[in-house]
């Protein structure tokens, strides 16, 4: 399904919310379970985005439904030996993230040029 999305369809998903962007970004490094995503996003956003389970999991569900991320089995929990679910970025999710990054980069470059500000 990833390969069937055209560039136009990818760009129609933009702009992403900050929370969505950071969730996708946190998965770039590899698969993570829900709590790891929460902590990672908190770190990446320098404490600005603090997820509760009520905000994280609906967001994860939407991204799963859209095919941006995939749900995979992780190693079993130590105490209960229950397999943990982890999430990983799909090819489509990576395309979406890259497109959003390019979009923001263009915005920043344009703004910097107009304002005469350098990074």
């Amino acid at each position: 399904m990833d390969d069937q999305r055209s560039d136009t369809e990818v760009h129609e998903q933009l702009p992403l919310t900050e929370a969505t962007f950071f969730i996708l970004l946190s998965l770039v490094g590899g698969k993570k379970h829900g709590y790891a995503i929460m902590k990672d996003v908190e770190g990446l956003s320098e404490g600005r985005i603090l997820f509760s389970t009520g905000t994280l999991y609906p967001a994860l569900k939407r991204m799963l439904d859209q095919g941006w991320i995939k749900r995979v089995e992780d190693e079993a929990e130590e105490e209960t030996l229950r397999p943990r679910k982890a999430y990983t970025l799909s090819a489509l999710g990576r395309r979406i993230l890259s497109a959003e990054t390019r979009r923001m980069d263009t915005l920043v470059t344009t703004a910097q040029a107009l304002l005469g500000v350098t990074s």
């Binding site: 399904m1 069937q4 129609e12 998903q13 379970h33 829900g34 709590y35 929460m38 603090l50 509760s52 389970t53 009520g54 905000t55 994280l56 999991y57 609906p58 994860l60 569900k61 939407r62 439904d65 859209q66 095919g67 929990e77 229950r82 943990r84 679910k85």
Partner: protein, 257 residues
């Protein structure tokens, strides 16, 4: 785990029941584990962090529950719409096939009548036979059959015009009659081709793609089918009328004064 933490986890588990069933079945275990981990971490850091976690969960819960119910509801509606579109496509597909048989049968019977009065098969008749075959191909390979039929239509029209003008037919009736013969093939070919495109779109587009509105396309399909049916009926009536016209012997291929 302290009694307070256990009580908090029990309350949290009960609150999770507010979420839609499908969401609960997928995530309830995970959410319980993650909440427990977050609570455990916060407990180690102090009461303020515990209060912060609980506050965040309580504040976000009503909005999360309501928005998730709305989201699941919209998914169901979109699935019904997409299912409805697929039903429409199926209906239009069979309608197109029936029309292709009608066109083929109609012109075939006229050609058989002409055979009975010693009428020799001409190039237009041969092209018509080929177009009928391409329409039958479209039953299985819609895009290919549709394209072949559409591509053959101008050839048929040209051959009809040339054939009739060579026989000295009148210009305007020849053009009208030739168009009346050729146009149904073009329309049927285009329908078959469009059906394949719409089927591919319906297959690729997810039912829960909430950003796309499929309802307008559905009415567009109805409108398209209705207009095409009307046009084909008019063209058939025109052809039949010209065939049984009082002092003119009319065939789909020849109009003789």
């Amino acid at each position: 785990m302290s009694p307070g933490t256990q009580m908090t986890l029990r309350i949290y588990t009960h609150l999770l029941r507010l979420y839609p069933r499908q969401f609960r079945e997928t995530f309830i275990d995970e959410m319980q584990v993650v909440f427990a981990m977050a609570l455990q971490d916060a407990t180690k850091r102090g009461g303020f962090h515990v209060a912060r976690i609980l506050y965040r969960e309580l504040v976000d819960l009503p909005v999360a529950v309501i928005s998730q119910h709305i989201y699941e509801r919209r998914k169901i509606v979109m699935r019904m719409v997409t299912y409805g579109i697929r039903q429409d496509i199926r209906f239009i597909r069979w309608g197109t096939r029936v029309f292709s048989l009608m066109i083929t049968g109609f012109y075939l019977s006229i050609n058989l009548i002409n055979e009975q009065i010693d009428y020799e098969p001409t190039i237009p008749i041969i092209i018509q036979v080929l177009l009928s075959i391409s329409m039958l191909i479209a039953w299985r390979w819609e895009r290919l059959g549709g394209m072949l039929t559409m591509a053959g239509t101008p050839i048929l029209l040209t051959s009809l015009l040339v054939d009739n003008f060579q026989r000295g037919s009148w210009i305007v009736p020849t053009i009208l009659a030739s168009s009346a013969v050729a146009l149904p093939y073009l329309i049927i070919g285009w329908l078959f081709y469009s059906l394949r495109q719409h089927t591919d779109i319906a297959r690729v587009r997810q039912a829960d793609d909430l950003e796309k509105e499929d309802t307008p396309k559905r009415y567009k399909l109805y409108l398209m089918m209705g207009a095409v049916c009307l046009l084909i009926i008019i063209l058939l009536i025109l052809s039949v009328t010209m065939l049984v016209g009082s002092e003119i012997v009319v065939t789909p291929n020849v109009i003789q004064p």
